[in-house]
């Protein structure tokens, strides 16, 4: 057994050795292979290292790029954000614009409507104004600053016989001549239109009537108002309005003719009675007896009263008709009163009246028609004389009131006016019943005339009175320019 075992063991060991050898060989091969592989691996590692490095490099570069990209991205983000905001704003603006546009469209529509409406309105107003201008009953002409006609109305055409197209652009003063009341042509320089355009006159008054000459050379009496057209403080033209005063003149003429006719008709027979009784009295046709003379004197006196009455009545009609053609001028009222007092001193003496005059100092001249004022003072003084019993007193005074009016005051110690007749005392033809029996000469016209005259010249007439004690009459007279004569005292 052992030898076998040994043998077996040697065989086995040999086998193992061989196997080990094979293994070693295999290991060597493997090692060699491993070396090769290691070498290969080293090479690969090298390559890898190189690649890694490259990769690192690339990575680094990528990192840089990435950073830049990040930056860029961030920027983009910011920009994007901004853009987003802008876009939002834009959107909002756009929306607003849309709204505005809509609104504008709406407004435009409204505006257009309004403009249309306004234009219509304006057109309406314009044609209405034109119609008004055209239809004014007075003649109307508008001129530019050179006096060239730029508009005339229908009345102008009708009154003067010119058509618009014939005279537009022509000189008014040349086309339409003016004559004064004596038929003398008014020169270019004297024409109111010329003066208004030159700024010398502002408004021409109506008180200077004249004649306008028509296209056919006929003429009509006219009065006009010319006023400058002022734009930005410069005279750019003038407007003239004129009217045909033929009718007014006709009325004035008729009034004057009435007074003339009345004068003539009433005074002629009175003149006859006057002159013939006068001739009888002076013995022109033979001697007359004392008795005849007495009778004749009665006739003469009666006729004289009639003459006075007619004169007074004529004055009344002229005052009422406004045809007193006297003239207002600066009048010395002190002198006037003195002369009236002087004129009636005979009557004062006859009744043994005491008359005194008190005149304030500095009584100015007053603008009045001296003839009419004389009539007032004559009437008031003769009333005082007439209605004051013998040996009575009359005091005449001229004063100035606080408004600088001149006051004529006359006080008497006469019969006075009964209280119940105060309101009638200025009535035409009225005579207070306490004097009718005492004096037959009154006409009841004196106070009516006096009051009418004073009031027409812008003054006042009033009185204070007590029966059997006396009366005081006051007339307050304006110093300045009185109203023009011609306003009737009442509606008659």
């Amino acid at each position: 057994m052992s030898t076998s075992n040994d043998k077996k063991t040697i065989a086995t060991s040999a086998s193992i050795a061989r196997k080990l050898e094979v293994l070693a060989q295999e290991k060597e091969t493997a090692r060699q292979k491993l070396v090769v592989t290691a070498k290969k691996l080293a090479a690969t590692a090298k390559e890898n290292e190189s690649i890694r490095r490259k990769l690192v490099e690339t990575a680094k570069q990528l990192a840089v790029t990435a950073k830049e990209k990040e930056v860029a991205r961030r920027k983009l983000v910011v920009t994007a954000k901004r853009l987003a905001v802008t876009a939002e704003e834009k959107e909002s603006t756009r929306r607003k614009l849309v709204v505005t546009a809509k609104e504008l469209k709406r407004l435009y529509g409204t505006l257009e409507k309004k403009v249309l409406r306004r234009t219509k309105d304006l057109e309406h107003i314009r044609s209405r104004n034109e119609a008004i201008l055209t239809s004014i009953g007075d003649g109307l002409v508008v001129v530019d600053k050179e006096g060239k006609i730029s508009y005339i109305n229908k009345s102008f055409e009708e009154m003067l016989g010119w058509k618009t197209q014939e005279i537009i652009g022509k000189s008014m003063v040349e086309v339409v001549p003016r004559e004064d009341l004596h038929g003398v042509e008014v020169s270019f320089k004297e024409r109111i239109l010329t003066q208004v355009l030159a700024g010398q006159k502002f408004v021409a008054d109506l008180t200077n009537p004249f004649y306008y000459i028509r296209k056919d050379k006929s003429r009509f009496p006219a009065s006009s108002i010319v006023a400058p057209v002022i734009l930005n403080k410069k005279i750019v033209g003038a407007v003239e309005v004129f009217r045909d005063i033929t009718k007014e003149k006709g009325i004035d003429k008729a009034k004057t003719e009435f007074v003339s006719l009345a004068s003539h008709q009433l005074r002629t027979p009175l003149s006859t009675v006057n002159w013939y009784s006068e001739m009888l009295l002076t013995g022109d046709v033979g001697e007359i007896s004392a008795e005849q003379k007495m009778y004749l004197e009665e006739i003469y006196k009666g006729n004289q009263r009639m003459v006075d009455l007619v004169n007074t009545l004529l004055d009344v009609s002229r005052i009422e008709l406004g045809t007193f053609d006297g003239e207002s001028k600066p009048t010395n009222i002190v002198g006037l009163v003195e002369s009236v007092v002087d004129e009636q001193k005979l009557q004062v003496a006859e009744k043994k009246l005491k008359i005194s005059c008190i005149f304030a100092v500095n009584i100015p001249l007053i603008q009045v028609d001296p003839k009419l004022l004389r009539m007032v003072i004559q009437n008031l003084l003769s009333n005082s004389i007439k209605y004051t019993p013998e040996r009575g007193r009359i005091e005449v005074a001229l004063l100035l009131d606080d408004k600088k009016n001149v006051i004529f005051k006359i006080t008497d110690t006469g019969y006075g006016i009964p209280k119940n007749q105060y309101d009638k005392i200025f009535t035409k033809l009225f005579r207070a019943d306490n004097v009718i029996g005492k004096d037959t000469e009154g006409t009841g016209l004196g106070l009516y005339i006096a009051k009418s005259i004073v009031e027409q010249s812008g003054g006042k007439l009033w009185f204070e009175s007590e029966e059997n004690k006396g009366s005081t009459f006051y007339a307050s007279l304006q110093i300045g320019k009185p109203k023009k004569n011609g306003v009737p005292a009442n509606g008659t």
């Binding site: 004068s263 002159w275 006068e278 001739m279």
Partner: protein, 134 residues
């Protein structure tokens, strides 16, 4: 008085002066004619303006007494013609008109005097005539 006036006339006016009365109211014309003749004037009377002008063309007068309101041709027309024909005879207007405008019109024609007949004694007129023709 009357005798005195006549004596004055005879003494001072060797050649009687001629006066023309133009007045349509015959009674008034006659009164004037009578008075003025008594004062020694030679007086001719016509009753309207037309006749007055006709006479003035033939004869010359020292003075014309002229009424205003007359038929055919009134006093204003007479004054106008006198002016046109340059007849320089002085004119005294005797009228019963008394409006300021009438007075002014006659003055413009150069009338020397204006009397309102009813308000003027005839003797005043005669005195004024004598004064004017002195």
């Amino acid at each position: 008085m009357v005798v005195g006036t006549r004596a004055f006339m005879i003494e001072h006016m060797k050649i009687a002066q001629k006066i023309l009365i133009i007045e349509d109211e015959k009674t008034l014309a006659r009164a004037l004619e009578l008075k003025l003749s008594l004062s020694g004037f030679v007086v001719k009377t016509v009753f309207n303006g037309e006749a007055g002008i006709a006479l003035l063309m033939k004869e010359s007068f020292s003075l014309i007494l002229l009424d205003l309101i007359m038929p055919k041709m009134d006093g204003f027309a007479v004054l106008t013609i006198l002016k046109e024909k340059n007849i320089q005879t002085p004119v005294m207007v005797l009228s019963n008109l008394s409006q300021e405008s009438d007075l002014r019109r006659t003055e413009e024609f150069g009338a020397k005097e204006f009397f309102i007949k009813s308000n003027t004694p005839i003797v005043t007129i005669v005195e004024r005539v004598i004064e004017l023709l002195k």
